[in-house]
Symmetry: D2
Subunit: 143 residues, 4 copies
Amino acid sequence: MEFKHTLPIQLRFNDVDKFGHVNNSVYFTFYDLGKTTYIADIMRLFKLEDQTTAIVVVNINANFLAPVYANEHVAVQTATLEVGYKSFTLFQQLIDTDTKEVKCTCSSVMVAFDVKSQQGVPISSEWKEAFCQYEGKDIIRKE
Amino acid sequence: MEFKHTLPIQLRFNDVDKFGHVNNSVYFTFYDLGKTTYIADIMRLFKLEDQTTAIVVVNINANFLAPVYANEHVAVQTATLEVGYKSFTLFQQLIDTDTKEVKCTCSSVMVAFDVKSQQGVPISSEWKEAFCQYEGKDIIRKE
Amino acid sequence: MEFKHTLPIQLRFNDVDKFGHVNNSVYFTFYDLGKTTYIADIMRLFKLEDQTTAIVVVNINANFLAPVYANEHVAVQTATLEVGYKSFTLFQQLIDTDTKEVKCTCSSVMVAFDVKSQQGVPISSEWKEAFCQYEGKDIIRKE
Amino acid sequence: MEFKHTLPIQLRFNDVDKFGHVNNSVYFTFYDLGKTTYIADIMRLFKLEDQTTAIVVVNINANFLAPVYANEHVAVQTATLEVGYKSFTLFQQLIDTDTKEVKCTCSSVMVAFDVKSQQGVPISSEWKEAFCQYEGKDIIRKE
């Protein structure tokens, strides 16, 4: 799989647990950072306004493939897999930037909802267009 | 679903993000704590020795159902769903202890491996027995 | 020194660093929790309203006396040392609740400021009175 | 004050509290990272071996001058203020790298101790020399 978006992650001393591994729970803060910069980059590139719509995660599914050690250099890669009516799916992986080893993969189902009504709202056509253009392919879900 | 193991969680000030919600990433530190106390309780109850076997998470699948607010009281509930040859599956949920509302559910596939050889090892019959007795039912996977 | 306020702390798996010690940085999240519950308890006991005044930390001075290990039970103790015109000083310690060993001490200078004007404001007489009554002695700074 | 060592910090989504500020407690993880990279840089530059000596923090004194917001770019600057017989003092500040505003200053007293005996040990002359050369001035404490 090809990724257009790669964010190097600065590890912190207390990311590492007593086994010398970066704690699994901390990976999700890396994925969070990947998601927010990915979305921000698309908004900036396609001049999408920061509206009254918030994006929340409803499902996360992560596979832990290999431990990350304190002295390794890692990055989070993020891509949109599919855009549906009210949700879209991001696929992310945590890689060792030196060896390209994939340490962990994670898919996240994201939902747009209206901040005022707290209700899910359809993904706008501008957003759908932006996702497809950024990823360079048609990723609209065929219902 | 019934849970034999419930661990109240002490929320910290910096668990809460700028939206006033407990950050989703932090949930996984709660689930971690649930897992380690659940395993420790079973080891203590069934006098299982802390051997040269480590337990690692290989997959996490979480559904975020409702936000947790800073002033809410929450607990993690943990149960073993199924025990297989070299892995077992834990099911957990994060609940509001006052309203019993389920905020998030999470299933985790755990694998036993030998610390020296760093290879996966079969779940011992003592462990299988302990899981079944603790949960009060036969949860051995029928292969 | 005597403390009227003791808050047991629930340690988390990833509080512990690769040396098996609770990471020093994490202590400050414990002290934060001690501060917020201490202030909340005083506000509740003395029916002080949550006004337009925020309290911020301007100085922290901590002495690390002994490491905290993953399996220890700890608590944060909090007391007000002194109340001045626009600031007050909290003294806290992190103790092993089993052995009463003091692991770390911390004094914090806190300042009240108006949320709207973002200016420091005098500590009200109701607050001064509440601090003295809670601590059971006159802790008003003599200027 | 001049600093030879500046480390840009990557902020994370959950560093930010409900007021939109980077939580004060998190600053200490930034300072930790500044300390460890500062020490590692000196060890590498002066070919100091990673011996059986550990370095621990015994005192931290921090002044919080201005809040850090989620969208700001920050860095930690680190310098050695003074090297004594068995301890040395680091001075650090957290700055906005765009405006150069100092957000927080922090001095830390560090002690070298022998990992085996768990006793404090004198700072070696190689280390003292390295600190002075790195900082470009004589910072040996005159006792």
